[in-house]
């Protein structure tokens, strides 16, 4: 049976149990006490989901906090995304800060801002443009680009304790360009290390390029 799911518009402060929706549009402050399933999740403001969130597409401006797993299609956001679990979906484009407690996995991830994740970040195509200190346990996938945003060099001069660099245990992929990254191990087919990299061990299969201001411990061709 195909039932038409209700389209809902929430304006102002609202608190609901959650549920299944068609298009869910929120303006203001919304709290969901349970799981939310919807086709579209569009938010301007703040949303807090105490369960999981499954959506086909999602866009937001503001703050989103999800306690359970976030699953779905494309997510496009500006602001803060705080996940007490992880993300699995098609695409994740975020301008702002991404914090996740578990794996973040998508076909394409594009992040301008900062990343905090004690787990795996896994994407076929990943671009991070750092606007602040970032940290991840593992970043892995196909083609990975990690850059520092221009202007951060100046900011880092002023506040040297909060350097805009990415700390990771492992970065692994087919085609890598990374800068301002501190990692224990970097593995890949084609590796290009930009300025500010401090890497314990580099394992490459085809080529390696290294900026004059990149430091590596050992480099091995495997």
């Amino acid at each position: 049976m195909v039932e038409a799911l209700p389209n809902v518009r929430l304006v102002g402060d609202s608190e609901t149990i959650g549920g299944r929706f068609g298009r869910l549009r929120i303006t203001g402050d919304a709290k969901f006490a349970g799981d939310v399933t919807c086709d579209l999740f569009a938010l301007t403001g703040t949303a807090q989901v105490s369960g999981g969130l499954a959506m086909k597409s999602m866009s937001f401006t503001g703050d989103v906090k999800v306690e359970g797993p976030l699953h779905g299609g494309n997510l496009k956001g500006t602001g803060e995304l705080l996940l007490k679990s992880g993300f699995r979906g098609e695409e994740l484009r975020l301008l702002g800060s991404l914090t996740a407690s578990e794996a973040v996995e998508a076909e394409r991830i594009s992040l301008r801002g900062a990343l905090q994740s004690p787990g795996l970040v896994n994407a076929d195509e990943l671009t991070i443009r750092m606007h602040g200190p970032s940290r991840a346990k593992e970043i892995a996938g196909g083609s990975l680009t990690i850059r520092r945003s221009r202007g951060m060099a100046l900011k880092d001069l002023i506040r040297s304790s909060h350097r805009s660099e990415l700390m990771a245990e492992l970065i692994e992929g087919d085609d890598l360009y990374i800068e301002y990254v501190r990692a224990d191990v970097v593995r890949g087919n084609k590796i290009s290390l930009g300025p500010g990299c401090v890497i314990g061990r580099v394992e490459y299969r085809h080529t390696i390029q290294k900026h004059a201001k990149a430091k590596t411990g050992t480099e091995v061709r495997v």
Partner: protein, 207 residues
């Protein structure tokens, strides 16, 4: 080094796949999370996989990926194999379990009786043990009863079947994989079998 495991590096070399493919298949849940085994090596953390399982899985993916979409493939390979069931006579025709055995262990089941994937798995497991000589024909019933009662409780989590004997009499147990078990001296552990391996084998025969 554990010879049942294969390192990620070796896996990519042997199969010729890229990091991107490996991680894409992980994302699509074609390769279960549980198969990524982290171990510390001299270069820091390294990832290992169960050798047989991952090689046969990757072989399957490479063979099928041109014909079906990854999502479809994921459905076919996913642990539950939901929807995969066969009538007894069709199952018999596949020759996974010999007719004699089914007659003995499933005499009361009608030819039209539909077997779920798990039931076929139990028959196939019993047959494999019988062939290996660790199980005797008359013990099969007890094994099947045990599997029928307890296997579902693992909810797809990796588990091992243990066959052990005291004074020649067989007993069976299911334990979570990776669990260490020690018996007193009077017991002889006859076999330990990873059920996930059986699932893979059976899928290979059915898909």
């Amino acid at each position: 080094m554990d010879s049942d495991l294969i390192s990620k590096k070796e896996l990519l070399d042997v199969t010729g796949i890229s990091y991107g493919q490996l991680y894409r298949w992980k994302r699509k849940q074609l390769i279960p999370e549980a198969w990524f085994i982290r171990k510390s090596a001299y270069t820091g953390q390294e990832t290992f996989f169960p050798r047989e399982l991952i090689l046969s899985r990757i072989d399957k993916i490479l063979n099928l990926k041109d014909d079906v979409s990854l999502d479809e493939l994921a459905e076919r390979l996913s642990g539950q194999m939901a929807g995969l069931e066969l009538r007894k006579r069709d199952f018999l025709k596949l020759g996974i379990v010999s007719a004699d055995l089914l007659k003995r262990w499933a005499a009361k089941d009608d030819d039209e009786r539909i077997y779920a994937f798990e039931e076929m798995l139990f028959f196939q497991t019993a047959e494999a043990l019988l062939r290996a000589g660790t199980l005797q024909m008359e013990e099969g019933g007890a094994l099947l009863a045990m599997l029928n009662e307890h296997y579902a409780k693992f909810k797809g989590q990796p588990c091992d079947l243990i066959v052990f004997r005291r004074m020649g009499a067989a007993s069976f147990a299911l334990v979570e994989s990776e669990t260490e078990l020690y018996f007193d001296g009077g017991i002889k552990a006859a076999a330990r079998l990873a059920m996930s391996g059986q699932v893979e084998q059976l899928k290979g025969m059915l898909v």
